[in-house]
Amino acid sequence: MTGTWLIRGARPLGGDPADVLICGEMILGIGAKLDAPAVRRGSQRADGAQSLDADGLIMLPGLVDLHTHLREPGREDAETVSTGTAAAALGGFTAVHAMANTDPVADTAGVVEQIWRLGRQAGRCDVRPVGAVTVGLAGSRLAELGAMADSAARVRVFSDDGRCVHDAVLMRRALEYVRAFDGVIAQHAQEPRLTHGAQVNEGEISGRLGLTGWPAVAEEAIIARDCLLAAHVGSALHACHVSTAGSVEIIRWAKSKGWQVTAEATPHHLLLTEQLAAGYDPVFKVNPPLRTAEDVQALRVGLSDGTIDCVATDHAPHPLEDKETEWEAAAFGMTGLETALSVVHEALVEPGLLDWAGVADRMSTRPAVIGRLSGHGRLLPGEPANLVLYDPSPRDVIDPGAQASKSRNSPFAGMVLPGRVVATFLRGKPTVLDGKLAW
């Protein structure tokens, strides 16, 4: 279906309506009242353009997720690269970073290339494998980071996500080492001794429910340490799924020093609070845990003022049987690819904390920069036509059963959220049209 597309009347970045002409893989032009003949004068390729009426729709650059669990290889019962990228496309994403905690772990060039190839075969969304920092995520010795960087997958983001690189020396070395190929270490900040057996945010809810608390300080202590380490060695640190007000403060301070520190927040931490754990339904069990309303507000403000660079889903699919259990026995994690844009709309756009240009920045431009990803994040003539069309007007009940992800563990099930992804284009080819997979 690649060819020529004329998208009429969409509002790029929420601004004034414009027409967008796509030829082949590229955006050829963006402007008022473009039409095929006008463009034909500049290009013979506009003949037979397919037209897409996009009145009232918002056009954003294709979303980029820095934090996705695609589960393949190893847990194909939860998700595959194929189903996960379908979910991503339906959520408006054109690139996702696939976390390394697969089985086998993505800690060698061979595994990251396998995941990269699976993404190319699926074809609905670019898949950028994240490499493990340490062998087997075991936190004891560095994985072959250079080999992963030099592989066909061209890995630039490294993370032991799910586990924290808690050894200070190992973290220092990792930060230093990846500078040789412009890499970044994405840290899952969780001091392990302070979170042994931790289940929910430590505070009112953990005390009432009798569940082991996951204290905010266990995240903040690691983020503070890692900011100082990154500054000391002059390297780039990215803080995964920041969840507490204290972490936002520390990152704000680190940025004020001019240090190379970036951070992400998840949609669920931007909308949901620990109170949801009160019924012991493990669909609300996630790591780091849902926090307090004050933390949610601090994350929103941090994302609004740029302290938090981007939204990353931490899409973590799990089969039903891993969630239909006692709370303590259940797996950590929530799906999020197909609801991310609607959640950001609800949590940030509706209260006036972010406009659509801001959404484009936090969900596409900045994550593409952090991921060292070219060809994504910019809605400009001459750039690859990676874009999403979003209808902000409908409000619908979230139904995980209707989603493309193989798993159903959405914490937003039954909630009414705004907006709907109408179309997604990956390098000029629609992956989603009329809210459904295009092929």
Partner: protein, 307 residues
Amino acid sequence: MNRHLISAGDLSLDDALLILDTADELAHMAERPVKKLPTLRGRTVVNLFYEDSTRTRISFEAAAKRLSADVINFSAKGSSVAKGESLKDTALTLEAMGADAVVIRHSASGAPRRLAGWVRGSVVNAGDGAHEHPTQALVDAFTMRRRLGRLDGLRVTIVGDVLHSRVARSNVLLLSTLGAEVTLVAPPTLLPVAVGGWPCSVCYDLDVALPKADVVMMLRVQQERMNAAYFPSVREYSRRYGLDAARMALLPDHGIVMHPGPMNRGVEIAAEVADSGRSTIVEQVANGVSVRMAVLYLLLGGSGAQQ
């Protein structure tokens, strides 16, 4: 009343008083030669115990049998995941067998709440992880009322590992509903960080709390806490937070000593205290049957009579 008894916090003042008054009536009946009532004839009560607890299981079993219910004891040690069958599958099995009530003891906090979502019968929480043990709190309140004649305004001091204690959680909730004034005494390491929001006061010094206490309730210190830096040594814990005869003398004359059992004699409670006339420990066990009869009767009896 709710269909289930999962948290002591779910009980209104009227609910709680109804259970205690009903338990009183049933206790009088227990003094008659024939102890059995036909109330729950033909109804099935399942004791689903994922943790060993002979005393609680026997108490529920005796309660159900005195009400003429059919009792099935289902012992499933270890976590459901480790053992293969999930809690949900066990729940569906019990449902298929027509359980009218499931009494569940589980090491995971919230397991009874999950179970209640999967069965039609009533779920009674017989202790879940570090969450709650509401029938134990009802037994304790019943015992206090029998000994001291009232609950409203009663000053109750609970001493020990509050952080991991389901008995403490249920007691704080129930006693505050009943109008008692609860004080928690423990080293700060064994109190939840957000205990300030609980309906009780907190004190780190047992000697300060005792002279004002009508009731002192000693909690068991679990062996595993001793190895996890919650306190420096068993001896230090015992010196600062244990109840020995000298400390017991600080209580007012009418003050009573309670313990939900099983006790660590010589750690949180000295033998001469446990065996003294102020101790209600054996009474608590005896009252357990009456109170659990009242709970089963009120959860199941009403609708059963109509059918």
